[in-house]
């Protein structure tokens, strides 16, 4: 035993976040008291973050199979076929806690981590999205956090040369104590070249490559990500890692190169819980063991202990298993990129993890009980007592909107709905030369290239969505709505939705009402994914987003990936030209519950979120895909937060050419005006088209409500009720000014 190590007992186990029964199980598995490094290993591997112990029972409900699925959950990322022997590999992951403590590095390493999950699968990362949520911008701390997170995402993504092509930026008081930073990445690989994280082949070398190991990020997974914040959260700053995008960039190129040699058997990044988690997971998947010598691990700091070496979360490190005898081939490639590379161990047949340090054995644990047979909990769930109360909304008692134009201006000026150009202007959107639709549209669209650089006629459509207010009011419906919106956004480009990934951000699962929210969200995700035939192929759960007892609203972030082929024909979201017919697809109902209008103009966050009709969504998606392919759709924009009036305004703000393209529309006044203008009924899309008759015919035969509502042109946004009453008549330039200045005004002045 290392003389500096504390004696291992129940008290120390508790300090490590282990429960009494978990500690007893550890002693039973080993048949003895664990060593200090062994205790550390169990504590991270069995942490909520690594083991999914509270969630895995529920996640099994999710549909994960489908015709296009090549790899479902369980590997570093999921993969779907995109035809012609190519695959898209994608995943979204949270980096919430670190980003709250140190926004720039927290967000940067979140990007770095998700990139490694993708290229570990053999795929070249081709596009990133993110979903970031903060408290209100009136709070200077949240202005600082936003600036830091954006600088971190940009600083890392730009330097590694992966474009950031979309995402969402949200502000809501529930994130005051816990911001959310969810990072998504998608990569492309030949379908028969997908790599798995498996330590197969007894006698094969275990190779460490990348950055050296330091003392940073120890217990990031167990203590930081798997417990609530207290007021003293900043003391945990040392558990946040520091990112080095330059090394990551070299690592991407070196790993892709080394994987092409055929010498690699399995590969995994050292993410949460570092060397420990990666080696255990690789051995567990292959049913093998590993013996490792810690003295061979490249070290950044002097006198590191086995405990530190095993638990460090230093970034930009990979663990590979290569074919025996081909070590030199692997070494030469990493050396060419000036990256550390060393054989640290061998694959063994006995199913045990044996670690030596200074000539002594410091860890000897059976692999399987640690990795695969980690605890599984069935936590109690109970509907929050306030839920039904919050869902009550008497529309008749809501004062009618006295000034619709003023309401529109106020909505466009609200940070949630305003232009996010201030954010995405700091991201490289063009690197890799495939960006067909850059940030600002409903979904991003990225053309696929072969690894040799030749362009294909395929493009990936990418969207990420969640309306946390809907999820707060009804986590089931809110999650169904998030799936429907993400999938609809993808279809608005003309792409066929393929599959989903998700990042489930919740409070403390030990509280029954949080567990209830979680279960409802998983049920919603499952039902919606099944109905829309978009399986969930990867994902991540982030619990304990809770500070001083105040949990975030349930935030199941959903990302959808679609395929457009040929990619030369796609629809943008804003009106491309004057003189086009404007068609509204979908049904508008008297739904104001959970709407932005109700929150901003009436100060109410109540009611039931709007109904989601998944059968309707399916038909809508099919029509969008067909309509774009046949040239019936010039632009398509999903109607979401802020409703129809905000969506119309956004359609007028075509990028780059001010004052944009105006529009005149007319709606029936069978509903109260604010329901038409600001209600957030789902399943609706605004189309501009030169072929209105063809589109209307197709909609009719598909049984989709569709109505021609007006025409593009002029420099004003004019909305009338059916009887001709003028509801809104505003200059698009003035509206654009409000919308585009809303964030800069709050952040720079």
């Amino acid at each position: 035993m290392n003389s500096n190590e504390p004696p291992v007992d129940l008290a120390l186990a508790r300090e490590h976040g282990l429960s009494d029964s978990e500690y007893a199980a550890i002693c039973e598995i080993l048949g003895r008291t664990p060593t200090f490094p062994e205790l550390g290993i169990f504590s991270v591997m069995w942490s909520e973050h690594c083991s999914y112990k509270s969630s895995k029972k529920h996640l099994r409900e999710l549909p994960t199979q489908g015709q296009c699925v090549l790899q479902g959950p369980g590997e570093n990322a999921g993969a779907v076929s995109i035809g012609d022997g190519l695959a898209a590999v994608f995943k979204i992951e949270s980096h919430n806690h670190p980003s709250f403590i140190e926004p720039k590095q927290g967000a940067a390493t979140g990007v770095g981590g998700i990139l490694r999950d993708i290229f570990t699968m053999g795929a070249r990362p081709v596009a990133s999205l993110n979903s970031i949520r903060f408290g209100p911008l009136e709070d200077p701390k949240h202005r600082y956090l936003l600036r830091g997170v954006v600088a971190g995402i940009g600083g890392y993504g730009n330097a590694v040369g992966v474009p950031t092509v979309g995402g969402e930026t949200d502000f809501r008081s529930c994130y005051r104590g816990n911001i959310l930073v969810n990072a998504f990445n998608v990569g492309v690989v030949a379908a028969d070249q997908i790599f798995r994280a498996s330590a197969a082949g007894v006698g094969n070398p275990v190779i460490y490559a990348g950055s050296k190991t330091g003392r940073d990020g120890i217990h990031g997974a167990s203590l930081l990500a798997s417990s609530e914040f207290s007021a003293a959260g900043e003391e945990k700053r040392p558990t946040v890692q520091v990112g080095d995008p330059f090394t990551e960039k070299c690592l991407i190129e070196a790993c892709l190169e080394v994987m092409r040699t055929g010498a690699v058997v399995g590969i995994q990044d050292m993410g949460a819980a570092g060397l420990t988690c990666s080696s255990f997971e690789m051995a567990s998947r292959a049913g093998t063991g590993i013996e490792m010598d810690l003295d061979r691990v490249p070290q950044r700091a002097a006198h590191m202990t086995p405990y530190e070496l095993l638990l460090s979360e230093s970034q930009e490190r990979m663990l590979l298993v290569a074919e025996a005898g081909r070590e030199e081939e692997v070494r030469a490639i990493f050396a060419r990129w000036d990256l550390a590379v060393v054989v640290v161990g061998r694959v063994t047949a006995d199913g045990r993890m044996r670690v030596r340090w200074h000539g002594k054995q410091v860890v000897n644990i059976p692999v399987d009980p640690v990795a695969a047979r980690s605890p599984e909990l069935d936590r109690p769930a109970e509907e929050p007592r306030t839920l039904r109360e919050n869902q009550k909304l008497d529309l008749a008692a809501v004062i009618p909107e006295e000034d619709p134009a003023a309401a529109l201006r106020e909505l466009l000026d609200s940070p949630r709905l305003a232009s996010k150009a201030w954010v995405y202007r700091q991201y490289d959107q063009f690197v890799q030369g495939g960006t067909l639709i850059a940030p600002g549209g409903d979904a991003a669209l990225v053309r696929v290239r072969q690894e040799d650089g030749t362009a294909t006629h395929k493009a990936l459509a990418l969207a990420v969505d969640c309306n946390p207010r809907f999820c707060f009011l009804d986590p089931y419906v809110g999650t169904v709505a998030a799936v429907a919106e993400a999938v609809r956004n993808v279809a608005c480009t003309g792409a066929r939705p393929l599959a989903l990934t998700n990042c489930l951000n919740f409070g403390n699962p030990e509280k029954p009402e949080i567990m209830w929210q979680f279960q409802e969200a998983v049920r919603g995700l499952s039902d919606a994914a099944r109905a829309l035939e978009t399986p969930v192929i990867s994902g991540n759960v982030s619990f304990y987003n809770e500070t001083a007892g105040r949990a975030i609203d349930p935030t199941p972030t959903v990302a959808a990936v679609g395929l457009l082929e040929p990619c030369e024909r796609f629809a943008v979201s804003s009106f491309p030209a004057p003189g086009l017919a404007v068609i509204l697809l979908g049904e508008t109902r008297a739904e104001l519950g959970g709407s932005e209008w109700l929150a901003i103009r009436r100060g109410l966050e109540v009611g039931s979120p709007p109904l989601v009709d998944l059968e309707h969504e399916k038909r809508l998606i099919a029509l969008l895909v067909e309509g774009v392919a046949r040239g019936w759709i010039a632009s398509a924009h999903d109607i979401a937060d802020g409703g129809l009036a905000v969506a119309l305004a956004e359609c007028c703000f075509s990028a780059g050419t001010l004052p944009g393209v105006g529009v005149r529309v007319q709606f029936p006044d069978v509903l109260r005006p604010e329901a038409w203008l600001f209600g957030e009924s789902t399943g609706r899309v605004l189309i501009s088209t030169a072929e209105p008759e063809a589109l209307l015919r197709a909609a009719r035969s598909a049984g989709l409500p569709a109505r021609r509502v007006g025409e593009t042109g002029g420099e004003r946004l004019v909305i009338r009720g059916e009887s001709g009453r003028l509801w809104i008549d505003e200059s698009t330039e003035a509206l654009y000014h409000i919308w585009s200045r809303a964030l800069p005004r709050r952040l720079e002045e």
Partner: protein, 236 residues
């Protein structure tokens, strides 16, 4: 044959290669920074954008010491055509092949957007396909793009026609409002005194296909191609 240099941290190397090979249809290959010689039939050298050596210390400050740079220096001194975009421009300044330096953007933020640049000198091997005064729509994406040079040197550069591109607005006016990064005199691109080395912050390689937001970058890469062909004919 064009040589696209690949430094550790280069990002736009593959995009430059794609623009040259797939779009313009000219032979090109990546040349690793640890090489000490350019390929024997090199007719033009391109330094791509990115974050060579992570931009640590200062953008371009370390890449200039890469072994290949000695060969690039010899190539340029012999009159060879050299084009650096973004990080490539920064490396050329650090290497002393171009005057001046690139400072952090005045907002201290990374900026990615499409901008207008006005062609100030169309009589260079890099702008011959454009007219003087022509506007090009090109993307910029950089954190350190504010060109700076001392006033006396700037005056000399102006006299010699070394200012090739300036940031302008959509009407062609070179104004403070159209200056995205705080570059002195709105400078977006310059050539050396001999006119064979060109550095610019915008990315012509990301504007070669109308489908992907415009083809104005061809004016620049196409000019380089013409110049190389002309030289080959003269030699023949």
């Amino acid at each position: 044959m064009f040589a696209v240099l690949q430094f550790p941290g280069s990002n736009d190397d593959r995009d430059m290669l794609f623009a040259l090979k797939s779009v313009l249809g000219v032979p090109a290959r990546l040349v690793w920074h640890k090489e000490t010689e350019l390929p024997p039939n090199t007719q033009g050298v391109l330094l791509p954008g990115g974050f060579s050596y992570g931009d640590y210390l200062r953008p371009g400050a370390m890449a200039r010491f890469s072994p290949i740079m000695a060969a690039v220096l010899r190539f340029a001194e012999a009159g060879g055509l050299v084009l650096g975009t973004c990080n490539g421009f920064q490396i050329l300044c650090e290497a002393g092949l171009l005057p001046g330096a690139l400072r952090p953007n005045r907002t201290l933020q990374f900026i990615c957007e499409r901008v207008w640049v006005r062609v100030e000198n169309a009589r260079t091997p890099f702008t011959s396909r454009a007219r003087a005064g022509q506007l090009l729509r090109l993307p910029i994406k950089h954190g350190d793009g504010a060109y700076f040079v001392a006033a006396d040197e700037l005056a000399r550069m102006q006299e010699r026609g070394q200012i090739v591109l300036r940031y302008a607005d959509a009407s062609g006016a070179v104004s403070e409002a159209a200056n995205p990064n705080g570059a002195i005199a709105n400078i977006a691109g310059i050539v050396n005194e001999a006119g064979n080395v060109f550095g610019l912050m915008p990315h012509p390689e990301h504007a070669v296909e109308p489908l992907l937001g415009g083809g104005d970058g061809r004016a620049i890469l196409g000019s380089l191609l013409d110049a190389v062909r002309q030289r080959a004919e003269v030699r023949a």
